[in-house]
């Protein structure tokens, strides 16, 4: 029976914007690697599929009010790999602001040192201020970024394939370290990238890292259909999540790929209490810790309009919002507009709604209720699993691991132990063969499956 896939989305103090102010938080440990290693070990004890790190090559605005600095994922996950043995390690990395040869090396190394646990969350970088850290006058346009992303994936895939699986010989007696007829230059010369190769490291345990994607724009969904093996997404309602799920799976099929091999994983940020009232009170405690100046700034990023000066307890000025066309792209904008139309919140209520997880699904309840809701999405064709985004860390993950995971296990919805020790095995994905294996001069069939 198919089971849920669960990732722990790690964010310095937790996903709620006021997490670092919560009484149970350890904000002085946000740069302490042992804090993250402990967290990953607890996620591994709960047999989670992976830990996931977001990233971007610039400083977000408003670090004054929240722990919005960035942990560099490759270094951080390599140190976490050393403290764990089974859990997957998903690093976000940009196709816009990294060179493909460098990115291919970093993932190859992470996969080698973790013995097959690397995943790549492929992003084109949304924050326009990144451009100025890389000598560009302007952040490249959305379509242009995705065009480069497509070519980039082609290049790094070829690099990861450039050593065939059996290229490493290590015959001490004969003096042959590697069979160089099985190491291939990729000779890529495309519209945007030229890369000769081969990669300077032997093929990795997983063949290629697991390809993850998180953008839900039209370009993003097309890209996901072509490349993704797991898709992170943000939805507030079962209905919306189900629509997205059906849409993306049909796009995968149309692209000639097996929809069963593409996991759709919405975010969920659960406030958990021993009663529903306690869970709601916990959520309210977090709301009290938010700072409107920060929250309004975040809202401006999502909506493209600054509501500073409006009565926080008055209605959202619906008529002043930009249209979807004016916002250009970005599915998160639509998520927020849907909330406004569905719930008719005051500005303060909207700010509180979004403070939890930046537009992801925030839900409060007992462990049983949280498990019920996850099961409903899973069985209702809305999710293959979830990206779990605890509002606060570490405690907010512990309560999920200790209280919700056992219920999911009892219901047969989640594994009790790992079947394998690679991220591909957790996700039930095959190990890809090298594209060069079939070109061997002796005409042998490709190796791997």
């Amino acid at each position: 029976m198919t089971q849920l896939n669960l990732n722990l989305f790690v964010y310095p103090a937790g996903h709620h914007e006021a997490a670092w102010r919560f009484r149970g938080a350890e904000p002085h440990r946000v740069l302490d690697i042992t804090y993250y290693q402990e967290l990953a070990r607890r996620a591994e004890a709960a047999t989670f599929d992976a830990v996931f790190f977001a990233d971007g090559p610039s400083l977000p605005d408003n670090v004054r009010y929240a722990s919005r600095f960035r942990l560099e994922p490759f270094t951080w996950l390599s140190a976490i790999a050393a403290a764990t043995s089974h859990i997957g390690l998903i690093a976000t990395a940009s196709t816009t602001y990294l060179e493909p040869y460098n990115l291919a090396r970093l993932f190859a190394s992470l996969d080698h040192l973790s013995r097959g646990r690397a995943g790549w969350n492929i992003v084109t970088t949304g924050a326009p201020q990144a451009a100025q850290n890389f000598g560009l006058d302007e952040h490249p346009a959305h379509g242009s970024r995705y065009a480069r992303a497509d070519e980039f994936v082609e290049v790094v895939t070829a690099l990861w394939d450039s050593w065939e699986d059996d290229a490493l010989v290590i015959d001490q007696e004969a003096g042959i370290f590697a069979d160089d007829t099985k190491i291939h230059p990729i000779d890529h010369s495309g519209e945007r990238l030229r890369v000769r190769g081969p990669l300077n490291t032997p093929r990795i345990p997983q063949g290629r890292p697991v390809y993850v994607q998180a953008g839900s724009s039209e370009d993003g969904k097309g890209f996901a259909a072509r490349h993704a093996e797991a898709i992170f997404t943000a939805h507030q309602t079962l209905a919306n999540a189900r629509d997205f799920y059906a849409d993306v799976k049909s796009r995968v099929k149309a692209a000639g790929r097996d929809p069963g091999l593409v996991k759709v994983l919405p975010g969920i940020s659960p406030f958990i209490g021993s009663t529903e009232a306690e869970a709601l009170a916990l959520r309210e405690e977090f709301n009290e810790l938010t700072q409107p100046e920060y929250s309004l700034h975040q809202l401006r990023h999502l909506l493209g309009i600054d509501l500073t000066g409006y009565d926080l307890d008055g209605p959202v000025p619906r008529e002043e919002l930009p249209t979807h066309e004016q916002r250009g792209y970005g599915s998160r904008f639509q998520v927020v507009v849907d909330i406004i139309d569905r719930e008719q919140p005051t500005i303060r209520q909207l700010l509180h709604h979004l403070a939890g997880a930046r537009g992801h699904w925030v839900t409060a309840g007992t462990p049983e209720q949280i498990a019920d809701r996850m099961q409903e999405w899973f069985e209702g064709g809305a999710a293959d699993g979830f990206n779990v985004m605890p509002p606060y860390l570490n405690g907010g993950f512990d309560v999920f691991a200790d209280e919700v995971v056992p219920i999911l296990r009892r219901r047969g919805l989640f594994r009790k132990e790992y079947d394998g020790s690679t991220l591909r095995s957790h996700y039930g994905l095959p190990r890809p063969a090298s594209q060069y294996a079939s070109r061997a001069p002796d005409g042998q069939a490709p190796t791997g499956t």
Copy 2:
């Protein structure tokens, strides 16, 4: 009393080109992170200053005959950091083929997660084939690479300074996570680079990673005089090492810096035996494992001439070598020419000479003799310490740690325990203040020293 600084230069199976074929080698572990973690732990037990990883963004030629693939240093050293607590972690990284913002993040993160143990071996990348992995028609010329390197160091230094030490506030009560008046855009707009900043991570434990440099060309020495805090270099004789030492220290002084704060660390690759005859026999055993096709190819890289087809037991055709002017740059060429002129070797003898450590000092003797020679260089004004390059790993390092280190300690030449836990403290280097600290609006003096 000043003592030696000792780094362990890690190379997959060892520095001798035939190391992987040696009976004691574990070549099947060259991609196994635990092999390197164990090695680093042993170097830490021997109170070494640092482990050092070379790097380059391309596949070296001739991987057929030797373990010449590349370990990506940031990921590898992050996993090593997690298995150690005191030893420094020096990563080679290229100013030619990385973006400064990305490099600054990787080192910042390595320094955070290791609590102050990161060092940056600043290289401009010598291997011309790297260019083709980065969309360039040609590898940039030597002078152009160094011009970029100078500007690059200026940029990343500013990025590492961009958060003042006290910018991170974490006042839960007041809701102030960071004091954004102490986080500075760097607004660099130079001839070759434009970077706005600030960095997206708080200031690192060491302020900046330790700056290490390894090129000994004229450009390289000038660069070292301006920036380096440690210099790796290759010399075959005490006289040459002493000349280099005096030259570089005087250049440091001329650049207005304190020569005592720049450590000169030649490479040493020791074959160690309980008698000198045993050590020489061990070296001969390695020579027997070399493969002339490989060795000749390596020699062609160093000399710019292919001696394939010549009688290996005949003389080196001295008159056919290019001149220093024709070779253009690269101090290693001169090292090889000096060997030829000094020792008049046959081609085979020259190949064996270079097989040990690619032009670095290879020496064979008892532990006492090795210690004597190191002491002679140290006290003779030729070295502040050494980059130890065991011909084979792991065993070749163990014998150094177990047999030579105790002698150095008994003579008062090497520490018995660590005084601190940062690389700066091992090297006796001050922690640099942020260049932005003095610009504080309240006119306070710079923090840090």
